[in-house]
């Protein structure tokens, strides 16, 4: 899996490309740890190019979410393929993740929170 990080503004944008499974999930957690080590706690994951996800990949996302919560931050997801979205629904993870249709919607939600 290819992981690209755009860490410029208030929200760190992470772009995932490929399969999110046991091995790549571990890599993703390591990448996110580097971001947390910079005291960043607002993370957006763009899953547009995730072509495959399994329960190990989901587990890594849950782990990241728990870390974000510990750091009193926010984690958003966007651009899920319909079959990925379905897996989130079946496993009921759609109830605990903030999922947006597009990255623009997700990022603007951070601005609304800041404005409020």
């Amino acid at each position: 899996m290819e992981i690209k990080v755009k860490n410029e503004g208030q929200v760190c944008e992470v772009y995932l490309n490929g399969r999110l499974d046991l091995a790549s999930g571990t890599n993703l957690k390591e990448e996110l740890k580097k971001i947390f080590d910079q005291d960043k706690n607002m993370i957006h994951l763009n899953l547009n190019d995730v072509e495959f996800i399994n329960s190990s990949g989901l587990g890594s996302l849950v782990s990241i979410m728990k870390e974000v919560r510990l750091r009193k931050g926010r984690l958003t997801l966007s651009n899920l393929a319909s079959y990925v979205k379905e897996i989130f629904e079946i496993t009921q993870l759609s109830h605990i993740f903030e999922i947006y249709e597009t990255q623009e919607e997700a990022l603007s939600s951070y601005q609304s929170v800041t404005a409020n």
Binding site: R19, L22, A23, F52, N54, S55, G59, V62, K66, I87
Partner: protein
């Protein structure tokens, strides 16, 4: 009837190899769309279960996957060299919402037409995943 068999050492790097192999097998047999995604997911869950819980990532132990494709079904048998796996699967509870593991068998159950768990003579777990394909193929292509 088309049959194919793959054998993997129990190392985490082989998860990706297994996904490449299954993708190639499905592409060769013109299985695409939702059916491909769902079948890959189920086999991947069974493989991870065999790798982590069955063979406990012991590189000396192997995982065998046997694929069978007929006009009506697409099957995968995922066999490990562990012990007591069937008891563990039977004892499994629904995972907590914030749990980082434990969703695999639920996903297999949801997506497959049927699945059967058994133990072979050596005590290894054999998970048979069956997809009835005629209706799916019409819907997915």
């Amino acid at each position: 009837m088309i049959k194919k068999e793959f054998v993997y050492k129990s190392i985490s790097e082989n998860e990706n190899k297994m996904l490449d192999d299954i993708e190639m097998f499905l592409d060769e047999n013109k299985i695409s769309g939702e059916l491909k995604n769902k079948f890959m997911l189920c086999v991947s869950e069974a493989f991870t279960n065999a790798l982590v819980h069955g063979n406990k990532l012991d590189p000396n132990k192997e995982i065998i996957i046997k694929y069978t494709l007929s006009n009506t079904t697409l099957n995968a048998d995922v066999i490990d060299e562990g012990h007591g796996g069937i008891e563990k699967v039977n004892k499994r509870k629904r995972p907590e919402l914030l749990s980082e593991s434990g969703r695999g068998v639920g996903l297999i159950k949801h997506y497959s037409s049927s699945f059967v768990i058994s133990e072979n003579e050596e005590g290894g777990l054999q998970l048979k995943i069956v997809f009835e394909i005629n209706k799916e193929r019409v819907n997915c292509r």
